[in-house]
């Protein structure tokens, strides 16, 4: 009998063009996603060497990082403007499809890939962006690459990769109301350490995953990179197929596609190099307190004693004390959005809590849908009005305050409750202090001006 295989092995083996196991192998890339920040130097390199984009029909670009969300059509920052104009020119010159600023398909690259049906099971998907792991939620091998690799994929439609080890994370138990996918991944990262997944491709499985929506699965896959893993997958199932069916670039013959996709599953957990068991039954909502996503605690817990100089430096930066509670963090800002939690379901979860409420005095709250389509649908459902009535600003789609590369900056010294994925020093603006949490938790925190335990306390 042949050895049992993981889903990852099956997809991987199917894509090897040349090279031996254990060494870098040349892999075929089925989908190459592109944004304005990591592509200009790659296009520049092609032009210098008189190379072309080998498969523009497998390449899709958008603008997200630099986009001003207050008025998407009015880019004041000259460098941002130049970077966006450069992508426009490059896309035209090389024949790459571009969802340009303000067009109906535009949005955060990791939101629109799935939304347009480009993201599909069994594919190898790359993008010059570490959160490409998001697309693994569809049962694809998806990972972030650097700009030289972007250039390489443009020119060859392939990438050299060394096969990582695999880790199966069995997520099971009974997920309580108020606890979400975001809390699962934050808890996993904080328990395994900021680089606890390094060198592994993760597969999540178990009853909790089976019951999860695609939006929540994407939140899990999105953040594996924060634990050091480049890729995080789930088995494609009916939920996956139903999500894809009918989308703009979905296969015309869904029956054949589903039959093909159904071959991608892990034979049995013994095929993983390592497994981890995670029972969610007692899981509390998580809040990050430090300067990497591993520095997170349950909302009803305490900030731990620093273990080393790195921890002490983080405490200095965030200005919080060991032993204090996440409920004591004085918030001045709340951010709803990003490729982690900027999807319709996330906005709905936040709106449900904010409905009929008002955010705390003096607090600024931005709501930034992940794409133009999400914005339109949210408005059709009246979510924008709920947010505005609660005192939040309703914005145009983009990466926004997930990273301070556009005008949406959290001021220095201000604590921000954020649905994004990274809380590095200065990530949301120089001197800003980020506290990651789920959309529900950030919504409740915005109302109170500090975090609360949404399982127990009245909102």
């Amino acid at each position: 009998m042949s050895k049992s295989q993981t889903m990852f092995d099956k997809i991987w083996n199917q894509h090897v063009i040349t090279g031996e196991p254990g060494e870098p192998q040349l892999m075929y890339v089925d989908l190459h996603l592109v944004h304005e920040v990591t592509s200009p130097q790659a296009f520049e390199g092609l032009r210098q060497q008189h190379r072309r984009v080998r498969r523009p029909d497998k390449t899709f670009a958008t603008m997200d990082h630099n986009v001003p969300t207050e008025d998407i059509f009015n880019v004041k920052d000259v460098i941002a403007k130049k970077q966006m104009a450069t992508l426009q020119t490059n896309a035209e010159e090389f024949g790459v499809t571009l969802a340009s600023v303000g067009t109906e398909d535009q949005g955060i690259i990791h939101v629109i890939g799935p939304q347009l049906g480009l993201t599909q099971p069994g594919k190898i998907i790359v993008c010059g962006d570490s959160h490409t792991s998001t697309h693994g939620a569809f049962g694809a091998i998806a990972f972030g690459i650097g700009t030289s690799e972007v250039e390489h994929v443009f020119a060859t439609q392939t990438i050299w990769q060394q096969k990582p080890k695999t880790m199966g994370i069995h997520v099971h138990g009974d997920l309580k109301a108020g606890v979400s996918a975001k809390d699962i991944i934050m808890a996993l990262i904080s328990q395994s350490g900021f680089d606890g997944f390094t060198g592994y491709a993760i597969e999540f499985y178990g009853n909790v995953i089976d019951d999860m929506s695609m939006a929540n699965r994407m939140t899990l896959s999105n953040m594996v990179i924060e634990g050091g893993a480049k890729m995080g997958q789930m088995k494609p199932d009916q939920t996956t197929f139903d999500y894809i069916a009918g989308r703009k670039y979905a296969p015309k013959d869904m029956t054949a596609a589903m039959k093909y996709w159904s071959q991608f599953y892990t034979d049995d957990p013994s095929a993983f190099d390592k497994t981890l068991d995670f029972d969610v039954s007692k899981l509390a909502p998580y809040v990050s307190f430090g300067t990497n996503p591993g520095m997170s605690v349950p909302v009803d817990g305490q900030l731990p004693e620093p273990k080393d100089d790195n921890d002490r430096k983080a405490y200095d930066y965030v200005g919080l004390k060991p032993g204090s509670s996440p409920k004591d963090i004085p918030l001045g800002y709340a951010f709803f959005g990003s490729c982690t939690n900027g999807r319709l379901e996330d906005l709905e979860a936040a709106a449900e809590i904010l409905k009929g409420q008002h955010i705390a005095n003096g607090l600024t709250a931005l709501v930034v849908p992940g794409s133009m389509a999400i914005k339109a649908e949210a408005e059709r459902r009246g979510l924008d009005q709920i947010f505005k009535d609660a005192g939040c600003q309703w914005r145009m789609p983009g990466c926004s305050a997930c990273l301070g590369m556009n005008p949406d900056l959290v001021p220095a010294g201000v604590h921000c409750a954020s649905t994004s994925n990274r809380n590095f020093e200065g990530r949301q603006g120089s001197g800003s202090i980020t506290h990651l949490a789920s959309p529900q938790m950030v919504a409740a925190a915005a109302i109170h001006g500090h975090f609360i335990d949404i399982r127990k306390e009245a909102i």
Partner: protein, 211 residues
């Protein structure tokens, strides 16, 4: 890419763990569309104060370290985002190699793509190298795969294919295109229900003929 066989250079020690790409090069510098000019912004938030004035205490601002070429650092170096600017900034400053206990995986790749040699050594050996001052030199030999400092010689591993590229100064795309026939064969075998995808093949062909 320049050939890399042997390098003797001055070390700069920043012995911290988890130096992420936001610290190496903050995002306000990512808007450039070129590959060079990032060296003065390397470690920006540590190197300059709020008003953009250099912090004289920071090692890379000290005159003695302006010609440093080997960075000695802790674990999980270059974690965080995929920005290749982190490698470009280190190279633009003048670094030829980074010696760390471990690396963020994407940064490691980016370094190898750009001719910046990432060397992984165990904690105790890093601790020894971390005692280096601006008076010292470190010798890296990529043929022997060794790092020599004072009377210590440490061996390191570097994947054979990367080593070949470093030693010969080769570009990845050129290497890959020696496999073009296999790539084309592979494309012909792709499942035929594949989704209709966007993109303009005609335009890309024009680029090629303009060669």
């Amino acid at each position: 890419m320049e050939k890399f066989t042997q390098h003797i250079g001055k070390p700069a020690v920043i012995h911290r763990n988890n130096i992420d790409t936001d610290q190496l090069i903050p995002k306000q510098f990512l808007k450039n569309i070129l590959r060079t000019g990032y060296g003065i912004s390397l470690f920006y938030d540590w190197r300059y104060d709020q008003n953009g004035k250099p912090n004289p205490d920071f090692i890379l601002n000290q005159p003695a370290y302006q010609d440093a070429t080997i960075l000695i650092t802790g674990s999980n170096f270059g974690s965080g985002s995929s920005r290749e600017h982190a490698a470009w900034a280190l190279i633009d400053f003048g670094f030829k190699a980074v010696i760390a206990e471990s690396f963020g995986p994407i940064f490691y790749m980016n370094a190898t793509k750009n001719g910046l040699l990432p060397i992984q050594l165990p904690k105790d050996q890093i601790a020894i190298l971390a005692t280096a001052t601006s008076q010292d030199q470190i010798k890296i030999d990529l043929i022997q795969q060794t790092v020599a400092f004072k009377d210590h010689v440490f061996s390191f591993n570097f994947e054979e294919m990367y080593r070949y590229k470093f030693i010969n100064g080769l570009d990845d795309i050129a290497i890959t295109m020696t496999h073009e026939a296999e790539i084309t064969d592979f494309e012909a075998k792709l499942p035929d229900f594949a989704a209709p995808m966007p993109g303009d093949m005609a335009k890309s062909a024009i680029i090629e003929t303009s060669k």
